[in-house]
């Protein structure tokens, strides 16, 4: 138990910052919500079902498009819930009054437009039940949060692999290009070998799997060169970055590939598990796997040891080269998966995908508390770091911060995170 607590401080700092930022954006985006159309119908249906009125219900709405949808949705939901609907009026105030007076129904539900009609005041039952406006942060809506999670998925998947690389004291700059290569190779294979728009699920999985493996192979090769010739990974992966980008352009002849079946977007846009996007589920899976790898396996311990003191690790009998190559291979696989997810989200494969992603990914890892010097860090921090950057960007979008200013802010956050890390290590 004590172990759990003593581990807290490393991630609590950054998690606290994430919470603070969320609270700040929630306050900043507080606004009055006036439900219209389908959401209003849904919300009101729930309220009526809770009431369970003993008498029939009369639905009243104006002639606008939102009102018509409101009435349709509401009627359908109430009927589905077994509530007796005495009638539905979609029309002018005069139509509504006629039906209202004739039917003698007292339980009336109206759209926001219809609720403002004058004749309700003369009725002995008072105004009808209508959708209430309420104050709620635009940041904190389910739609927006899912949107953030969806956007963060690709970056976070890449950052998981990058965490391993940085812990060993290396760096891999090629991941942004690998995304493009993976997306292009995957979609190209679907177009050429799996029947383009007519591709089957198995065919698509095989093609995307091949694309991921290509990236894993490239990562492995980077790792082999780095360890075999004892050269800095920075410069080797810089070269690989250019080569992979060029290869993506060459393979696609510089164009985006769109000839994909509708089912291709399942991974990127589907949400099959309690409404959680599939990309987010994949991301979570990868994080669980890498977290277990780092904390529960000998390989994970060797990753830390190699980054902490390569000579001490070697003298302790650790196969340093094998560990580093494997880490680069895993990182390549993660980049490949990220590319497939991005292609699925955008239903296309383009050689321009993922430009500068490597910097964004490294920033997420470092903000998450992993040291560039190696030997320290974990994926939990990385996940929080990736979310922090995404949330800040999303919040700035919602509060209308211009895109130029957004870049300045994100840059400043990276600088601040590294300085914070430096202060932390110095105080040790």
């Amino acid at each position: 138990m004590a172990g759990r607590f003593s581990r807290l401080p490393t991630e609590t700092g950054i998690a606290g910052v994430l919470v603070l930022v969320c609270v700040a954006f929630s306050v900043a985006t507080l606004s009055e919500e006036r439900p219209e159309g389908a959401p209003a119908g849904e919300a009101l249906a729930k309220q009526v079902v809770r009431d369970r009125p003993s008498e029939p219900v009369l639905i009243v709405a104006g002639t606008g498009r939102d009102d018509r949808i409101f009435a349709e949705v509401l009627e359908a939901r109430l009927k589905a819930a077994g509530i007796h609907v005495g009638g539905a009026v979609v029309g002018t105030p005069a139509d509504a009054r006629d039906v209202f007076v004739k039917s003698g129904v007292s339980y009336v539900v109206a759209s926001r437009t219809a609720a403002r009609w004058m004749f309700w005041e003369k009725s002995k039952h008072g105004p009808p039940i209508s959708p209430q406006s309420h104050v709620w942060p635009r940041f904190l809506t389910a739609d927006n949060l899912l949107n953030v999670a969806n956007q963060v998925a690709v970056i976070a998947i890449l950052a998981a692999g990058m965490t391993l690389v940085l812990i060993t004291g290396h760096v891999d700059l090629s991941v942004g290009s690998l995304i493009a290569l993976s997306a292009v190779v995957g979609t190209l294979f679907v177009r050429r070998f799996a029947g383009a728009e007519g591709a089957t699920t198995v065919g698509m999985i095989a093609c995307c799997g091949a694309a991921v493996l290509v990236c894993g192979l490239i990562g492995t090769l980077s790792g082999l060169v780095v360890t075999r010739f004892a050269v800095p990974s920075f410069i080797i992966t810089l070269g690989v970055m250019k080569m992979a980008r060029g290869a993506a352009f060459r393979a696609s002849a510089g164009e985006s590939i769109y000839q994909l079946p509708d089912g291709f977007v399942w991974l990127g846009r589907g949400a099959d598990l309690f409404g959680i996007p599939n990309a987010v589920v994949l991301m979570a899976l990868i994080y669980v796997v890498i977290h277990v790898l780092l904390n529960r396996t000998t390989f994970g311990r060797y990753v830390y040891a190699v980054g902490g003191n390569v000579e001490a690790a070697r003298l302790a009998g650790v196969r340093v080269s094998a560990v580093v190559v494997l880490v680069f291979a895993i990182n390549g696989l993660c980049a490949g998966l990220g590319g497939v997810v991005l292609a699925s989200q955008l239903k296309s494969g383009s050689p321009t995908f993922g430009v500068e992603y490597e910097l964004y990914v490294i920033a997420a890892v470092v903000v998450g508390g992993t040291s560039l010097a190696g030997g320290q860090g974990n994926v939990v921090g990385t996940l929080i770091g990736a979310f922090l950057l995404a949330v800040i960007q999303n919040g700035m979008n919602l509060t209308g911060v211009g895109s130029y200013d957004q870049q300045i802010v994100l840059g400043a956050i990276i600088v601040a995170a590294v300085l914070l890390d430096r202060l932390k290590t110095r105080s040790r």
């Binding site: 902490g308 003191n309 302790a316 009998g317």
Partner: protein, 494 residues
Amino acid sequence: MTPPLLEMAGVEKSYPGVHALRGVSLTLTGGEVLAVVGENGAGKSTLIKVLAGAVTPDAGRVTVAGLPVPSGVPARAKAAGVAVIYQEFSLVPALTAAENVYLGREPGRYGWLHRRAERTGAAEWFRTLGVPVDPGAPVRTLSTAQQQIVEIAKALAADARILVLDEPTAPLTPPEVDRLFVVIRGLTARGVGVIYISHRLDEVFRIADRVMVLRDGAHVSTSPVAGVTRAELIERMVGRTLDQEFPTRSPRIGEPGIVVTGLRRGDVVHDVSFHVRRGEILALTGLVGSGRTETARLLFGADRRDGGTIALDGKVLTISSPRDAVRAGIALLTEDRKNQGLILAHTVRENFALPNLSRWARFGLLDRGRERSAFAAAANRFRIKAADPRARAGTLSGGNQQKLVLAKWLERNCEVVVFDEPTRGIDVGAKYEIYQLMQELADRGKAVLMISSELPEVLGLADRVLVMHAGRITGEVTDVRQATQEQLLRLAMG
């Protein structure tokens, strides 16, 4: 009366667990060579560092020509005219000889280099020193002896009046040594005072006017070289009293465990052959740089060997990496614990676990319960005093760090344990515990190889002693009880 060129008085310095200097004083007049001798760890390098301003002493003062020099400020020492030439040169390899001579004090104005003045100035210094060096040649293309001359020229160009030479002849050939001595005589003729630090007593008698002996951080004697013999110097360096206690035991020595034949690597290890029997503690001693540590690293596969075989219990081992050695049952406790033995930023328990992880894992998945209980047992057995298994290894004292390294290796049931300077930087109490653990290992039938510069330790602990000099084994002492430190030192000096 003019004050002496240099005076150091009552210099004291303590590091945690080590009293490096105990009130050392010296005077140096212009135009003389003062030799400073002593065993490894006698305090010579600390004394130089205090003089150079690299180390702040706990007490004592340094005055140059009567003026006090503030301690702990390298720039002030330099300005006072002190120049130290360490064994590791401080030259920029890619810059030319001339550029190095004037590094940091380039001739010129407003940041604009006067390259011709730089070159002619440097050439002038090389001519004065009487050694041909091309001022325009990059330093990395020069020989070691030429680089040394560049260092000396650099010191002189900075108006040095006190020149400290730390083991200057170690990397030189005999003709180069002769030429260096001519240079030194030329410097003293110009009124420069030279402090000459060396292990090579014959050189001390050739070049020095006076010789000062340090032992365990204390000043033993300073006398003109004419009034002292080589034997007397060695006697003073070693001292008569053994102030350390060693646990006693009656060794039960068995069959040869590890047998090394014809080990060699470049020009650091030449054809080294030896064996360590099971139950035996074999000491390998010699001066720093004699090839002892290099031999151990070859045995462990940490460096690639050019030739030689290693056999354990009659079976030849293929060792090409530390991993091979570890799997064969060999453990190496390196001299440099902080950089090679431990990962200081990681926890005590993680360090303990590193070479043992595979034994506590199934299909790569770690059994952390076994890791915890193994560590708890080992910490208890080795009396590792860590408040918390999750404390960083860097927070432990030297003695506890060494016990931690020992524990991590012994968890593996090694058959051969190599200790490189096992008690360096460790306080007396912890030393005794380490000695006990080493003897316990031998008594359990392991082959124990100990590399040590501390002669009392070698004599007090080993069952047999090998002495190395210049990459070769130059002597063997089987009757350790009858051996003396003088005997070992003589063998070590070749």
